[in-house]
């Protein structure tokens, strides 16, 4: 696909005849190749051509290059298992206190492990995960040691006291918390208990310096990483590349005492009422959906929050508050279910942070189909009633 590229100046210079004061060139001599490859745009275009469509279509990103080999682009079997890295005698420990709701690490928790690895590797230390229960995710996330902390129900004060005993009992150089609702609360409790300074909401982190915003984001504070740090989201990349041991650690915790919280009851969000920005599961309609009665029934049956593309909101079929995308709401949802949405860049920006995407579209080459973890090329008008029927059947049977 690549030819070598011509450089007229050097080419002319190679023809120069030495030994005379006036420059003389012997242009009949054989030209020398420069070795810089030159792009062959025709061959590139031929590769990008999507076969099997009536209109000429180019896919320059080469993501569906193998459309002939449908269905299911299976993952190639070249995945080599990550190398195991052991740290038998760490110089110090960098502790991580992830939120891990329900025992599963969130993307924010993984970034926390990335930050901890950075600090641990710079000091020859090991990463210690302080979690409620051991899980095999921790080894991939980058934990060398795991210490289960005793916890029963919602009692952050008891948890902070347990963390304080770890801070005093083990050689912990840094403790990292996520700057989330529960993580931030715990970090501040531990800071007040231990009298150590907390660097709250770090927006960048390296082994030498951490920074945070202060005074209403007008100034940036910067210092060497202190002992307690809480980390904002998307500040540090998650750890990748090596597998770690996640060895359990023994530690004797003090007996917990009764706190001031008499009862705690978790109330899940009501999907019909929460705002799109807060929603966990969003089901969205685009221009490919015509029957909005069925769409609304489906949203209710799935227990999702309704959303829409701009085309639908412009047409007045859904309220403006339901618009997903650059000029609507940027979602934080875990799952996004797109029905009849093409996936314009302005729309995809709103979905960029969603972990899982499911798409139904009649067009195989829609950008939404490429983005989706489960993509279904079918008519949304037929899939929606089928889904409703199936959910009703499951409820009955």
């Amino acid at each position: 696909m690549s030819r070598s590229r011509k450089d007229p100046r050097t080419e002319r210079a190679t023809h120069r005849v030495e030994g005379s004061i006036r420059p003389r060139f012997d242009l009949a001599a054989a030209p020398a190749a420069t070795g810089r490859p030159r792009r062959d745009r025709r061959a590139e275009e031929r590769l990008a051509l999507v076969p099997g469509t009536v209109r000429r279509r180019l896919d320059r990103t080469q993501r569906v290059a193998a459309v002939g080999a449908l269905p299911a682009p299976t993952t190639p079997a070249v995945e080599t298992p990550p190398r195991l890295r052991t740290i038998p005698e760490p110089a110090c420990l960098v502790a991580v206190v992830p939120d891990a709701p329900g025992g599963r690490l969130t993307p924010h928790d993984r970034q926390l492990f990335g930050a901890a690895r950075l600090l641990a590797d710079a000091n020859g230390g090991a990463v210690l995960a302080l979690v409620e229960s051991w899980s095999d995710e921790l080894a991939i996330a980058g934990a060398d040691r795991v210490l289960p902390i005793p916890a029963s129900g919602y009692d952050p004060e008891a948890k902070a006291l347990a963390l304080l005993s770890v801070l005093d009992g083990l050689a912990v150089r840094h403790v990292l918390f996520p700057e989330s609702a529960d993580g931030g609360d715990l970090a501040r409790r531990l800071a007040a208990l231990s009298g150590e300074a907390l660097f709250a909401g770090a927006e960048s982190l390296s082994a030498k310096a951490v920074t945070r915003a202060a005074q209403g984001r007008r100034i940036e504070q910067r210092r060497a990483p202190p002992r307690l740090i809480s980390l904002a989201t998307d500040a540090v990349a998650p750890h990748a590349g090596t597998l770690h041991e996640a060895l359990p650690v023994e530690f004797a915790f003090p007996e917990p005492t009764a706190g001031a919280i008499l009862s705690a009851e978790y109330i899940p969000a009501d999907p019909a009422k929460v705002s799109l920005a807060e929603a966990d599961f969003v089901t969205s309609a685009g221009n490919g959906v015509t029957d909005f009665e069925v769409f609304r029934a489906l949203v209710a049956a799935l227990g999702a929050t309704p959303g829409a593309s701009r085309m639908v909101c412009d047409a007045g079929l859904m309220p403006r508050a339901a618009q997903v995308g650059a000029s609507g709401t940027v979602l934080e949802a875990r799952c996004y279910f797109a029905l009849g949405i093409a996936g314009a860049p302005q729309h995809l920006q709103g979905v960029a942070r969603c972990e899982h995407v499911v798409a139904v579209n009649t067009d195989l080459h829609a950008a939404m189909i490429e983005r989706a973890g489960l993509a279904i090329v079918a008519d949304a008008q037929e899939v929606m009633p089928a889904l409703l029927r199936l959910i009703a059947e499951e409820k009955r049977g």
Binding site: D182, A214, G216, E220, A224, H356, A372, V383
Partner: protein
């Protein structure tokens, strides 16, 4: 019930002019709706724009006068101990100062009070001397707690909007000024410079990647290559979707 609302000297989010902090005005509303006597408490060199808080439903305000750059915690702790309050409300974090939200925790520690974060609604508890607190969690979820009083509670920005400003109430409200306890702040190791927004991390986009690759990284699914079903029957499609939603755990 005697309720203290801690008010800090804030700055407006956009104009940077001195202004009350919105979440503390929301705390005043929660205190007003809970009933009982509400007292504002501020420690700092001047009361300035905090006079406006009287118009948002706070009947009285105590100002503990301090020198510039003094630590407010000892003065506030002393005033709170002396006032024998049942409930102390504070904002989740200030706006215009250090903005770390650490002061309420430090106060709770020195006063020996339990602290609960991120309240969006308060109500009388089932027994006397208890309080029901609704706590905001991410993604619109809530946690309903019953706590024993006295306690310190911080308020979350998702709480109801502040009461509208009433000029007459602002005129009527009293401000009591008395000297606070002089306490120099611990010297800070922080180096300060003008804020520079840092680019948010984009998953997998390596530096020097082409524009198409960066767009791909910004919009591509984090979970890697997906499943594709072409022209299934509607029933098969529905089954696949439900199975997938169950697998990722969004559907019961």
């Amino acid at each position: 019930m005697r309720i203290a609302v801690l008010l800090s000297a804030g700055r407006h989010r956009v104009s940077a002019h001195p202004a009350p902090v919105p979440v503390e005005l929301q705390a005043i509303r929660l205190a007003a709706e809970l009933g009982g006597e509400a007292f504002g408490l501020h420690a700092g060199p001047a009361i300035g724009p905090l006079h406006d808080t009287l118009g948002h439903g706070l009947p009285r305000l105590t100002h503990l006068r301090l020198a510039e750059n003094d630590d407010p915690a000892p003065s506030l702790a002393d005033a709170l101990r002396e006032g024998a309050f049942d409930l102390v409300l504070a904002g989740r974090s200030g706006q215009g100062g250090e903005d770390a939200g650490l002061l309420p925790y430090a106060l709770a520690r020195t006063l020996g009070l339990p602290i609960v974060a991120d309240a969006v609604a308060l109500a009388e508890g089932p027994q006397p001397g208890t309080l029901r607190v609704e706590q905001a969690l991410p993604r619109g979820a809530r946690r309903r707690l019953v706590i024993r009083l006295p306690a310190l509670v911080t308020v979350h920005p998702a709480a109801p909007a502040p009461l509208p400003f009433a000029f007459a109430a602002a005129r009527r409200g009293d401000v009591e000024t008395r000297p606070g306890i002089a306490a120099a702040c611990a010297p800070s190791e922080m180096e300060e410079r003008p804020y520079r927004p840092r680019p948010k991390l984009i998953a997998k986009a390596a530096g020097g990647a082409s524009a198409a690759e960066r767009l791909k990284a910004a919009t591509e699914s984090a979970s890697g290559g997906g499943k594709l079903l072409v022209e299934p029957t509607p029933d098969n499609a529905a089954r696949a979707i439900l199975a997938h939603l169950r697998e990722i755990g969004v559907l019961a």
